[in-house]
C-alpha cells in the first residue's frame, strides 16, 4: 500500500466534478448528467479498490495504528492565544471496519441515485452541482476521524440537501425542506456544543512534547488525555458527561431518525425527488447511527453502558411504532418512509446489545437497509413517474400489467420483511440474537420480534393493494420498466440476494472492529469505574 491519498480522492472527487459541472454551459444537460454518473461510478471503483486493499485483521476504533489509508496532517494552526493556548486542527482521514461498509454503501447508493437523477429536467446544472456537493459531505462524514473535520462534513451535507428538497421537491417542498433543515440544525448545534466541550477537556501530546487541546476523536477516546478541570473530563467530579452524552445522542438520533424526533423524515421523503429520497434513506439516516457508534460509544463508553436499556427501548419503540404508523399510511412513499423508521429501530436495538453479534447485526442492518430502502424508493419512483400519484388505494392489479416491475417489488418487499435468503433477514436475525444475548436488552428484544410480524403485515398489504387483485382499468396503459430503471434495480437486487445467501464477507469486514469496540467498551467501563466518576 502506498501513501496515495485515496480517501481524499474518494471524498473530494465529487467536488472536482462539481466545479467541472459548474463550468459546463447550462444547455449541455447530457454532459452534466453523464459526468455526474461517471464521477459516482469512479467513486464505486475507488471504494472497491479500498475494499480489495483492506486488511481485515485490523480493528481500528480507538487505535490510530490499526486504521487504514490514514491521511493526517495539520490543517489549521493558530498560535498566540494566551487563554486557550494553541489551536490545532488536523485533517485526519482513515477507515476501519465500522466505516468501510458505510463508504461502500455511500458509493453504491450515490451511483444508483445519480442514474435515477437522469429524469431531472429543472435547472439541471444546479441540481447536479448540489448532488455532487452532497456526495462529498456524506463521504467525508464516514472517513473523517477529526471531530472538527467530521462536523464540517456533517454540515456540508446539510446545505445541498436543503436545496435539493426545497427546489426539486414536490408541492410542499418548502415546508419539508425547512423542517429537515431546522431539525438537523438543532442536532448539529447539540453536536457542536459537545464537540467544543470535549475540545476543552481533552489534550493531546504533540511530537515535541507540548500538550494542546485536541479535536482528534481517537485522542478523545483515551481517558488519560483528559484534563483535570475539563467540563467533560471524567477526572472532574462535577463533569457534565451525562448531559453531554444525551445531547450528542439526540443530535445523532435526529438523523436516524429516532422516535420522537422522526417526523421530519416522512415529509422530507414525500417531497424529495426519487433520487434524493434514495440518498436520504440509503445514506443519510446511517450517518446518525454511524455517529453514535463512531463518536458517542467510544468517547463515552461508561455512559453508553449505563444507558443500553434506554437505547434498546427507543429501538423497540422505533420498530413497533414505525410499523404501526406505516400500516396507517395511504401514501406509498410515506409508508416506505415509516418503514425506514421501523427498520432503523433494529439498528438501535442491535447497537444496544453491546456484543459482537448485536453490533455486527446493526452495522449490517445499516448496509442492508441502505440497499433495500434504496430499492423501495426507486420502486415508488417508477410508479410515480408513470401514474403521477402515490395513493395506495387508487392502484390495484399492477402485477398483471407490469410483471418485471412486480418481480423486483416482490424481492424488495420480502427483503424488507426479512425473508431468509435476502439480506434483511441476516441482519435482523443477528440483531435479535445479539440483543437477546444481553441480559439488559433481552425482554425488549423479544417484544421487538413483533416488528417482524407487523412488517409482514403492512408490506404484504401494500403489495396486495398495489399489485394484486383485479387491474384498475385506469392504469391499463402503464408500461413496464425501461432499461434505465432495470439497470438501477438489478445491482441492488444482486447485492440484496448475495448478502442474504452469503453475508460472510461483509461480516468479516467489520468483525475485528466490532470486537475491538466491544472490548474497548468493556474495558473502559472498568477504567472509568476506577476513577470513581460513575
Amino acid at each position: 500500500m502506498t501513501n496515495f491519498p485515496i480517501l481524499s480522492l474518494i471524498t473530494f472527487l465529487p467536488i472536482l466534478g462539481m466545479i467541472v459541472v459548474l463550468l459546463i454551459p447550462k444547455k449541455q444537460e447530457l454532459a452534466i448528467k453523464g459526468l455526474t454518473i461517471i464521477i459516482t461510478a469512479i467513486q464505486v471503483v475507488l471504494a472497491v479498490v479500498l475494499l480489495l486493499n483492506y486488511n481485515y485483521s485490523l480493528g481500528g476504533i480507538n487505535d490510530i495504528k490499526s486504521f487504514q489509508f490514514i491521511e493526517k496532517f495539520r490543517w489549521i494552526e493558530i498560535t498566540g492565544f494566551s487563554w486557550i493556548g494553541k489551536i490545532k486542527i488536523d485533517y485526519f482521514l482513515g477507515v476501519d471496519g465500522l466505516s468501510m461498509p458505510m463508504v461502500l454503501l455511500t458509493a453504491i447508493v450515490t451511483f444508483i441515485a445519480s442514474i435515477s437523477s437522469w429524469t431531472i429536467d429543472k435547472s439541471v446544472k444546479g441540481y447536479f452541482a448540489m448532488f455532487l456537493l452532497l456526495d462529498t459531505g456524506m463521504m467525508g462524514v464516514f472517513v473523517a476521524l477529526d471531530f472538527f473535520l467530521f462536523y464540517v462534513f456533517w454540515e456540508l451535507m446539510l446545505l445541498p440537501m436543503y436545496f435539493l428538497i426545497g427546489i426539486w421537491g414536490g408541492p410542499r417542498r418548502e415546508y419539508a425542506a425547512i423542517k429537515f433543515f431546522l431539525y438537523t440544525l438543532l442536532g448539529s448545534v447539540l453536536i457542536l456544543l459537545v464537540m467544543i466541550g470535549l475540545y476543552f477537556s481533552s489534550m493531546e501530546t504533540l511530537a515535541d512534547g507540548t500538550r494542546v487541546f485536541t479535536f482528534n476523536m481517537l485522542e478523545m477516546m483515551n481517558p488519560a488525555n483528559y484534563t483535570a478541570g475539563g467540563i467533560l473530563s471524567p477526572l472532574n467530579p462535577n463533569n457534565l458527561r451525562f448531559i453531554a452524552y444525551i445531547g450528542l445522542f439526540i443530535g445523532f438520533a435526529i438523523k436516524i431518525p429516532m422516535f420522537p424526533f422522526h417526523t421530519w423524515l416522512p415529509d422530507a421523503h414525500v417531497e424529495a425527488p426519487t433520487a434524493i429520497s434514495v440518498i436520504l434513506a440509503g445514506v443519510l439516516l446511517k450517518m446518525g447511527t454511524y455517529g453514535i457508534l463512531r463518536v458517542s460509544y467510544p468517547i463515552f463508553p461508561e455512559i453508553t453502558k449505563d444507558l443500553t436499556w434506554y437505547i434498546a427501548l427507543f429501538g423497540m419503540i422505533n420498530i413497533i411504532y414505525g410499523a404501526f404508523c406505516a400500516m396507517a399510511q395511504k401514501d406509498f412513499k410515506k409508508l416506505i418512509a415509516y418503514s425506514s423508521v421501523s427498520h432503523m429501530g433494529y439498528v438501535l436495538l442491535g447497537m444496544a446489545a453491546l456484543n459482537t453479534m448485536g453490533i455486527s447485526g446493526a452495522i449490517l442492518q445499516m448496509f442492508n437497509h441502505g440497499t433495500i430502502t434504496a430499492m423501495l424508493f426507486l420502486i415508488v419512483g417508477v410508479i410515480y413517474d408513470r401514474a403521477h400519484i402515490r395513493d395506495l388505494d387508487s392502484f390495484g392489479g399492477l402485477g398483471r400489467q407490469m410483471p418485471v416491475y412486480t418481480g423486483f417489488v416482490t424481492v424488495a418487499f420480502f427483503a424488507a420483511i426479512g425473508l431468509p435468503g435476502l439480506s434483511g433477514f441476516i441482519s435482523e436475525a443477528l440483531v435479535f440474537l445479539g440483543s437477546f444475548g444481553n441480559d439488559i436488552t433481552r425482554v425488549l428484544a423479544v417484544v421487538s420480534t413483533l416488528g417482524i410480524l407487523l412488517g409482514a403485515g403492512y408490506m404484504l398489504w401494500t403489495l396486495q393493494r398495489v399489485f394484486l387483485g383485479p387491474l384498475n382499468e385506469k392504469w391499463a396503459s402503464l408500461k413496464d420498466m425501461d432499461f434505465r430503471e432495470f439497470a438501477m434495480l438489478v445491482p441492488l437486487s444482486a447485492i440484496v440476494i448475495f448478502l442474504g445467501v452469503y453475508p460472510g464477507p461483509m461480516l468479516k469486514l467489520m468483525n475485528s472492529s466490532v470486537n475491538t469496540m466491544v472490548e474497548f467498551i468493556e474495558k473502559a467501563q472498568s477504567f472509568y469505574q476506577s476513577l470513581g466518576s460513575l
Binding site: T263, T356, L419, G437, L453, G457, L460, Q464, L468, N515
Partner: protein, 694 residues
C-alpha cells in the same frame, strides 16, 4: 460406498429444484416449453431421492449422516468467544423417507399440473414456483440445525404465498395468500423466540449439539421450566405451519390456490413440516411441553372435523380434514407416539394428495366447479378418479387393508395407552370421535359427488375422465395407500419394516425428572445410560393392552361413520334438511367454521388496524403537532417580537417625531408670517416679562 456420497446426492435433491426455479423463472417469457425443464429436474430429483432412500435404509440404516460447512462466523468475540454459524445436512431414516415423500408427490404434482394448468397465462411461472417450493421443502427436511430450518421454513412460506395467490387477479386469492403468510408468521415468532433461547443458551443451532448440551445438564436460564417453554415456543412454528388451533384459519382459505398446489403444499408436505419440526425437536420436549402439544393437537383434530361435516366446497372439506389429520399427528407426538406420528405423516401425505388430486380431477372435469351440490353421479363418467378417491377415503377413514388404518390405529392405541398411564382420557375419546366424524364426512363427500343423480346436467354432459398425466398420479398415490408397502400384516404394523426398521425410535434428551413417568428409563437401563431407550417397560405393556381395544373401537366407529353417511345421503333414510333445521344453531356454528374468522377479524385484525390508525393519527397530530406547534410558537414569538419592535420601539421614535410635528402644527398658528404680529407678540412678551421680573 461412502456415506459422504449420500450427502452429495442430497445436495442434488436440494439444489436441482432451485436450478429449475431460476431457469424456469428467467426463461418463462422467452421459452414457452421451459416447464418441461422443470419437470425433468423434478424427475431427476425424485430419482436421487429414491437413491438416497434405498441406500439409507438398506446400507446405512443405523447411522446418522451429518455434514456441515461454515456459513459465516464471528471469531474471537469478547463475550461469546468464537461463534461459527453452520450450514449442514443431516440424513437419518426419517430424513430419507420424508425426502422421498416430498420428491415423489412433488414430481407427481408437477406432471399432474402439466394437464391441469394447461392454458394458464402464467403457466411457466407456476412451475417455477413449484420448483422453489420443492427446494425449500427439501431444505427443511435435510437441515441439521434449527436456524436453517427456520430459513427454509420462511421460504416455504414464501412459495406458499406465491402459489396461493397465483391467480392474484382474484381478490380472494390475494387475500388468502396474505393471510397464510401473516398467520404463519405469528407462529414463526414463537419459533424464532425459541431459537433465540436455544442460541443464547447453547451458542449453536445444531440439533445434535443442542441435545448433547441438554444431556450434559445445560438448561436455558438453568431451569427445566424454561426448557419446556422453549419447546412450546418452537412448537409455535408448527402451530402456524401445520395449521393447528388457534392458527388454523389460513389453511381453508389457502384452497384459493390451484388444486395441485393444495395437494402438494397444503395437504401432503408443507403443512406436515410442522409435524416434522416437532419430530426433530422431540428430544428436548419436557412432559409439560408434550402435554401442551397433545392438547393443541386434540383440539385441532376435533374442531375442523365438526366443520368439515357441513361444508359444500369439495376442497374445503378436504382442507378441514387435513387440519384434523395433522391434529392427530401432533396429538400423537404429544402423547409420545413418535413413530406413529411420522408413520401417519407419510401415509396421510399419500392418501391426502390422492384425495386432493382426485378432487382436482373432478374440478377439472366440472370446469372449475367446486361446489359438491352441483355434482353427483360422476362415478360412471370418471371411474378411475372415483376408485382412487374411494381407496384414499377408506384410508383416511381407517378401514383395514389401507395404510391409514395402520397409522391411525397406532395413534389411537397410543393415546389409549397414554390415557391408561396418565389418566388423560380425553385424548382417546376425542380421537375416536374424530375418527367417526372423519369416516362420515368423507363418505358424505363421496356419495354427494360421485353417487346419485347428476344435479347440473349441463356440466355433467361435458364431464369426462381426466387425461393420463392426471390419472397416473392418482393411481400411484392410491396404490401407495395400500397396507402392503408398509407391513405384511394388515392389522398390525408393529412387525412391519416401517416401524420396526425404518422409523427409528425417538431419543429423549431432557432431564429425567421432566419426563412422563412412562418415558423414564427403567432402573436396569438407567444405569447403562442407554439413551436410545426412552420408554419404560410399563409403556410397552400399556401399548400391548391398548392394541386390540383400540383396533376394535376404531374399526367400529369408522364403519358406523360410513354407514351413517350412506343412511343420510345414499339411502336417504333420514331427511338431512329437516335434521339440519332441527339443529340449526349447531349447523350454523359448524357451517360458519365456529366463527373463528369473524372473531379474529373483529379482535386482532381490526384491533391492529385501529391501533395503527390511532398511532398514525398520534404521529401526525401529536408528535408532528408538537413539532409544528414548536414551529408555530417560535413563529408567533418572533411575530410578537417583530411587532414589539415595530410598534413599541419604533413607535417611540415615531411618537417623538409625531409630537414635534403636533407642536409644530400648534405653534404654526402663531407663525402668521406677518412681522407686525411678531412684533406685537414680542412687545407683549416683554411687557409680561417686565411684570414678572420686576
Amino acid at each position: 460406498m461412502d456415506s459422504q456420497f449420500l450427502i452429495n446426492t442430497s445436495l442434488y435433491v436440494l439444489f436441482l429444484p432451485l436450478l429449475g426455479f431460476v431457469v424456469t423463472l428467467l426463461l418463462s417469457k422467452k421459452v414457452k416449453s421451459v416447464y418441461l425443464f422443470e419437470n425433468l429436474v423434478l424427475i431427476l430429483t425424485f430419482i436421487a431421492s429414491v437413491f438416497i432412500l434405498y441406500n439409507k435404509l438398506a446400507i446405512f440404516s443405523d447411522t446418522k449422516i451429518v455434514s456441515d460447512v461454515e456459513w459465516f462466523s464471528f471469531p474471537n468475540t469478547p463475550i461469546f468467544g468464537d461463534i461459527s454459524i453452520k450450514l449442514g445436512i443431516m440424513i437419518d431414516n426419517i430424513t430419507a423417507m420424508m425426502l422421498f415423500v416430498v420428491a415423489l408427490i412433488s414430481m407427481l404434482v408437477h406432471l399432474y399440473s402439466i394437464a391441469y394448468m394447461k392454458g394458464d397465462e402464467r403457466y411457466n411461472r407456476y412451475f417455477a414456483y413449484l420448483g422453489i417450493f420443492t427446494f425449500s421443502m427439501n431444505g427443511i427436511v435435510l437441515t441439521h440445525n434449527i436456524l436453517m430450518m427456520y430459513i427454509f421454513w420462511e421460504l416455504v412460506g414464501l412459495s406458499s404465498y406465491l402459489l396461493i395467490g397465483f391467480w392474484f387477479e382474484k381478490k380472494s386469492a390475494a387475500d388468502a395468500g396474505k393471510k397464510a403468510f401473516i398467520v404463519n408468521r405469528i407462529g414463526d415468532l414463537g419459533m424464532f423466540a425459541g431459537i433465540l433461547i436455544l442460541f443464547f443458551t447453547y451458542r449453536t443451532f445444531s440439533f445434535s449439539e443442542i441435545f448433547a448440551s441438554i444431556e450434559a445438564g445445560i438448561l436455558p436460564f438453568n431451569s427445566t421450566f424454561w426448557l419446556g417453554i422453549t419447546g412450546i415456543l418452537l412448537f409455535g412454528g408448527a402451530i402456524g405451519k401445520s395449521a393447528q388451533f388457534p392458527l388454523h384459519v389460513w389453511l381453508p382459505d389457502a384452497m384459493e390456490g390451484p388444486t395441485p398446489v393444495s395437494a402438494l403444499i397444503h395437504a401432503a408436505t408443507m403443512v406436515a413440516a410442522g409435524v416434522y419440526l416437532v419430530i426433530r425437536i422431540f428430544g428436548l420436549l419436557t412432559a409439560d411441553a408434550m402435554l401442551f402439544i397433545a392438547v393443541i393437537g386434540m383440539i385441532s383434530s376435533f374442531i375442523p372435523a365438526t366443520i368439515a361435516l357441513t361444508q359444500n366446497d369439495i376442497k374445503k372439506v378436504l382442507a378441514y380434514s387435513t387440519i384434523s389429520q395433522l391434529g392427530y399427528m401432533i396429538m400423537a407426538l404429544g402423547v409420545g407416539a413418535y413413530q406413529f406420528a411420522f408413520f401417519h405423516l407419510v401415509t396421510h401425505a399419500f392418501f391426502k394428495a390422492a384425495l386432493f388430486l382426485g378432487s382436482g380431477s373432478v374440478i377439472h372435469a366440472m370446469h372449475h366447479e367446486q361446489d359438491i351440490r352441483y355434482m353427483g353421479g360422476l362415478r360412471k363418467k370418471m371411474p378411475l378418479t372415483y376408485w382412487t378417491f374411494v381407496i384414499s377415503s377408506l384410508a383416511i377413514a381407517g378401514i383395514p387393508l389401507t395404510s391409514g388404518f395402520l397409522s391411525k390405529d397406532g395413534i389411537l392405541a397410543s393415546s389409549l395407552a397414554f390415557a391408561n398411564l396418565t389418566g388423560h382420557w380425553l385424548f382417546p375419546v376425542t380421537g375416536f370421535l374424530v375418527a367417526l366424524l372423519t369416516a362420515f364426512y368423507m363418505f358424505r363427500l363421496i356419495i354427494i359427488t360421485f353417487h346419485g343423480e347428476p344435479r347440473d346436467h349441463h356440466k355433467f354432459e361435458y364431464a369426462h375422465e381426466s387425461p393420463f398425466v392426471m390419472v397416473m398420479p392418482l393411481i400411484v398415490l392410491a396404490v401407495l395407500s395400500i397396507f402392503i408397502w408398509y407391513t405384511p400384516n394388515p392389522f398390525n404394523a408393529d412387525q412391519g419394516w416401517v416401524l420396526s426398521k425404518w422409523i427409528e425410535k425417538p431419543v429423549l434428551h431432557t432431564p429425567v425428572e421432566t419426563r412422563f413417568d412412562f418415558m423414564k428409563p427403567d432402573s436396569e437401563n438407567f444405569s447403562h445410560n442407554n439413551e436410545h431407550i426412552i420408554y419404560s417397560s410399563t409403556y410397552s405393556e400399556a401399548m400391548h393392552h391398548a392394541h386390540y381395544p383400540a383396533m376394535f373401537i376404531s374399526l367400529f366407529v369408522a364403519l358406523s361413520g360410513i354407514l351413517l353417511a350412506f343412511v343420510f345421503y345414499h339411502w336417504k333414510k333420514v331427511d338431512v334438511d329437516t335434521l339440519t333445521e332441527k339443529v340449526k344453531p349447531l349447523y350454523n356454528f359448524s357451517f360458519n367454521k365456529w366463527y373463528f374468522d369473524e372473531f379474529y377479524d373483529k379482535t386482532f385484525v381490526s384491533g391492529t388496524l385501529m391501533l395503527s390508525k390511532a398511532l398514525g393519527w398520534f404521529d401526525l397530530k401529536v408528535i408532528d403537532g408538537i413539532v409544528d406547534g414548536a414551529a408555530a410558537a417560535t413563529k408567533s414569538l418572533s411575530f410578537f417580537v417583530g411587532n414589539f419592535d415595530k410598534i413599541v420601539i419604533d413607535g417611540l421614535v415615531n411618537l417623538t417625531a409625531y409630537l414635534s410635528g403636533f407642536f409644530g402644527l400648534l405653534f404654526r398658528r402663531i407663525q402668521t408670517g406677518k412681522v407686525q404680529t411678531y412684533i406685537v407678540l414680542v412687545i407683549f412678551s416683554i411687557v409680561i416679562l417686565l411684570f414678572i421680573f420686576r
